[in-house]
Symmetry: C2
Subunit: 147 residues, 2 copies
DNA sequence: TGTATCTTTGCAACTTAGTTGCAAAAGTTT
DNA sequence: AAACTTTTGCAACTAAGTTGCAAAGATACA
């Protein structure tokens, strides 16, 4: 299977995701979604603004990320340095109900952030009275490439 | 032991912390440190700016938080909504070497963030090649008061 | 205790991040 | 292709965070 076929498959995937979520097909949404599909690590707002071929307005990027969040297409990864990163949700995520129950890893050397889909968040036992709804685990250290 | 004695003890504690960390004693540093000692939950930058009796410049607050971080007096708590909160480190924390190995809890109703000192972060097993240095666990849900 | 020295503060001016309203442009439906 | 709906870009704004510098304050030392 050549490069061209892969390209067609990704373009199809983009359209499917947008249609499945009842979003109208626009250049901005396609470009940003393509960026996420092409990238194996999480993206910050400014990465997205910088890396799209065609330049979109900051406001468009904000609004697109917001609507992708609402639809459950992407999720945020909090990091200690106050920089939010975004990554694709797996198929099981639905509107409103994120269950990204996986661990995130931030490399202190290269700065890349990845979802470790195969590492599930451990159970945390809380003191009486605290009712947990969501557990975020962010591990930082050095990644495969940097160690 | 009356109110007055407690006050004196806290003022002593403030001076001790500053001296131990070789920081000169200024009104700003004393006020901000007092705020942390009086509060049982984590504080955001704007909380600090708003709650000190005497008003300090934004820049002073930033710089004070920064130097308290460097010295290991406080630590940050990352939250999903991109708002950093700060909390006192326990005595074991030293300059450069934070080991706040406890779980943080953010209440979705009242917004307060607390350190659950007694709940230690669980061990996380990572795939080959990833070398962990720090594990951040933030649980969100409803706290004692709000449930 | 006063003076010299070093540190911290507040101000101004700036950069970056994020929000809102609105008219024009693009997407969708028939 | 016309009518309708949604999205985009622009302008203008608020909030967050940074830097250089002179004045004020803290510390050290005679």
């Amino acid at each position: 299977m050549g490069f061209h076929s892969n390209f067609i498959i990704m373009e199809d995937q983009i359209l499917n995701i947008l249609r499945k979520n009842q979003l109208s097909i626009t250049d901005g949404r396609k470009s940003i979604l393509r960026l996420f599909l092409e990238s194996d690590n999480a993206l910050a707002h400014h990465d997205i603004e910088a890396r799209t071929q065609v330049k979109f307005d900051r406001v468009t990027v904000y609004r697109t990320l917001q609507i992708f969040m609402d639809k459950g297409i992407i999720h945020t990864i909090p990091t200690a340095d106050n920089s939010i990163k975004y990554a694709l949700c797996r198929d099981e995520c639905e509107q409103g109900h994120h269950h990204d129950d996986h661990v995130h890893f931030v490399c202190k050397k290269c700065g890349t952030t990845v979802c470790l889909e195969e590492v599930h968040v451990p159970a945390v036992k809380l003191p009486k009275g605290f009712k947990p709804q969501q557990v975020e685990v962010v591990v930082s250290g050095t990644c495969k490439e940097c160690s």
